[in-house]
Amino acid sequence: MLTTDRATAEKYLATRKELADAPVEDVIAALTAMATQIRLWDLEMINRAKLGHIGGDFSVTDILTTLYGAVLNVDPTNPTDPERDRFILSKGHTAGALYSTLAYCGFFPQAELATFAQALSPLNGHPNRTKVPGVETNTGPLGHGFPVAVGHALAAKLQGSPRRTFVVMGDGEMQEGSNWEAAMTAAHYELSSVTAIIDRNRLQQGAGTEDTKTLEPFPDKLASFGFEVRDIPGHDFAALLLATQPSTTGKPVAVIANTVKGKGVSFMENRVEWHHKVPSDEQVTQAVQELTNA
């Protein structure tokens, strides 16, 4: 099991405290810088390991940044606090983005990112809760995170706890029937503490989601399943901050975050092949430039 990077964690907690009362422009500026750092670390990890899911990592990065930078009640110095909010990355193949985010917050030392996918590293290609603090359940096979999130929210409700549960799914992942089973359970039990965020980049491994198995009319489907639906631009921090606020209707919340696969790197954006492709050295140089100058 990795352990807290105390200095980084304390800096993270201090920043969270400052941002809690800061003007929204300052929050957005901080989140923008955080997201850039996370993408740069992720790029470096994937380039070193020569494997990873960079397209999905970059589409989900701003969502993770919003959650860890401004929303989740988590403490990297006490990662198993029973009253923490739960975050579940159901699209576990984008572990690289999660690892970079957790390292940014001090859940473990940033230097560990260099071990990603290496033999015996705690940082497997898909996240493992018994090895990586901050990971709540082991994911990888799709369609698992939402039911687990619902179970956690039921536990919180039974305990009368105000803690919240967030789950991030890929849009292609919504083709798994288990997610709709979970959606029905969340609505039936009126689990308003659940926020399901769908990283709607419109691409899955092999092709576009609509070319593979149509999701649209997606907001209507989620609404008809009993969700308060928030359909937002998924790289807009102001929109993400609003969309991650608690339910206003007593229903569970579904956020459709409309994102761009490979966001931030021109040659990756909206290109299906960057689902799990490794950039060349020249491409890495260009990607670093584009991310840094954005």
Partner: protein, 326 residues
């Protein structure tokens, strides 16, 4: 194939499902973390009493087994202790990946309770027979596979699982069974219960049985004892982790081993015992269980059909001893 000469056991029989239901209510009274999760199976999982006693703590996710197991894992993550209960074929088959990823690999404290396993739903046919559940669950690293053989052991196994964090698959028989373990026998993970044998001249053959087959193994031992053959009967309450010491002692101290289970032999108890024996102390073995989907018939008919009877066990013991078929 055995001949239908077996007389019904005279001993009174008891319902493990009732014992299971009573025990989880008792545990829930002691511990507010205990919840029951089911898939429209309040009745068939014997949770009616639990629901009446703790309406808020009975979560019914409807007919959705993948959700069922995932929700169980999430409840555990949130500090509850969930009994996730459903008919064994659907709990294990439909949600096997959830059992692997959300429970075992994620190291969550979830108690998966497979109701009415084996051929308990006789005439409903192989879709409703849970004969592969032991093979599937035993293949998952770290998952504890418990097969209580009588109501007392059911209570003890359930209580053990609540008190010792980890992922469990507990197989709860549907049909009433006689008490097979000595009074006061508790439950210890990975420890079997030795039930018969200890004849002065030593024991000739070991029968390792689980669940519904344990009482039949005892009846077979009685028949053979009358013929001067001494049988060591072992109730292998935990199929994973297996009681390796008991198996290897049987291989050393007796002339052969018969396994008996209401399950497919490929991957189940028989396969578990055989793989241990063949790598350490090879002895003649016979594996009693299913090798194909069952035809139409009642549970009792099907047990006869597959030789899962006292007579079938007697015949297998004779084969192991080289006496040939009876």
């Amino acid at each position: 194939m055995s001949t239908p000469t077996e007389t019904p056991p005279a001993a009174p029989t008891f319902d493990c499902r009732k014992a299971f239901a009573e025990e989880i209510i008792a545990l829930a009274q002691e511990d507010p973390r205990i919840v029951a999760v089911c898939n429209d199976s309040v009745g068939s999982s014997n949770l009616t009493g639990f629901r009446d006693a703790f309406p808020d703590r009975l979560i019914n996710v409807g007919i959705a087994e993948q959700d069922l197991v995932g929700v169980g894992a999430g409840l555990a993550n949130g500090g509850m202790i969930p009994f996730v209960s459903a008919a064994a074929p659907f709990l294990t088959g439909r949600a096997l990946e959830q059992i692997k990823a959300d429970v075992a690999y994620s190291a969550t404290h979830v108690l998966l309770c497979g109701q009415s396993p084996g051929m308990a739903y006789g005439e409903l046919g192989p879709t409703h027979h849970s004969i592969e559940d032991l093979s599937w669950t035993r293949a998952i690293p770290g998952l504890r596979v418990l097969v209580p053989a009588d109501p007392q052991e059911t209570r003890a196994a359930v209580r053990y699982a609540v008190g010792n964090p980890g992922g469990y698959y507990i197989r709860i028989p549907r049909h009433a069974v006689p008490a097979v373990n000595p009074e006061g026998t508790g439950f210890e993970l990975g420890r079997s219960v030795r039930l018969a044998g200890h004849s002065p001249g030593g024991e000739d053959v070991t029968v390792i049985a689980i669940g519904t087959l344990v009482s039949r193994a005892l009846a077979a031992a009685e028949t053979l004892r009358a013929e001067g053959i001494s049988v060591r009967v072992i109730n292998m309450s935990t199929v994973s982790p297996l009681d390796a010491d008991a198996v290897l002692a049987a291989a050393r101290e007796t002339r052969g081993i018969v396994t008996a289970e209401e399950a497919i032999v490929s991957g189940g108890l028989g396969a578990a015992v055989a793989s241990l024996v063949v790598q350490n102390q090879p002895v003649p073995m016979r594996l009693l269980g299913l090798t194909e989907f069952a035809p139409t018939g009642s549970t009792d008919f099907l047990l006869e059909h597959f030789g899962l009877t006292a007579d079938g066990i007697v015949a297998a013991v004779r084969e192991v001893l080289g006496h040939g078929g009876a």
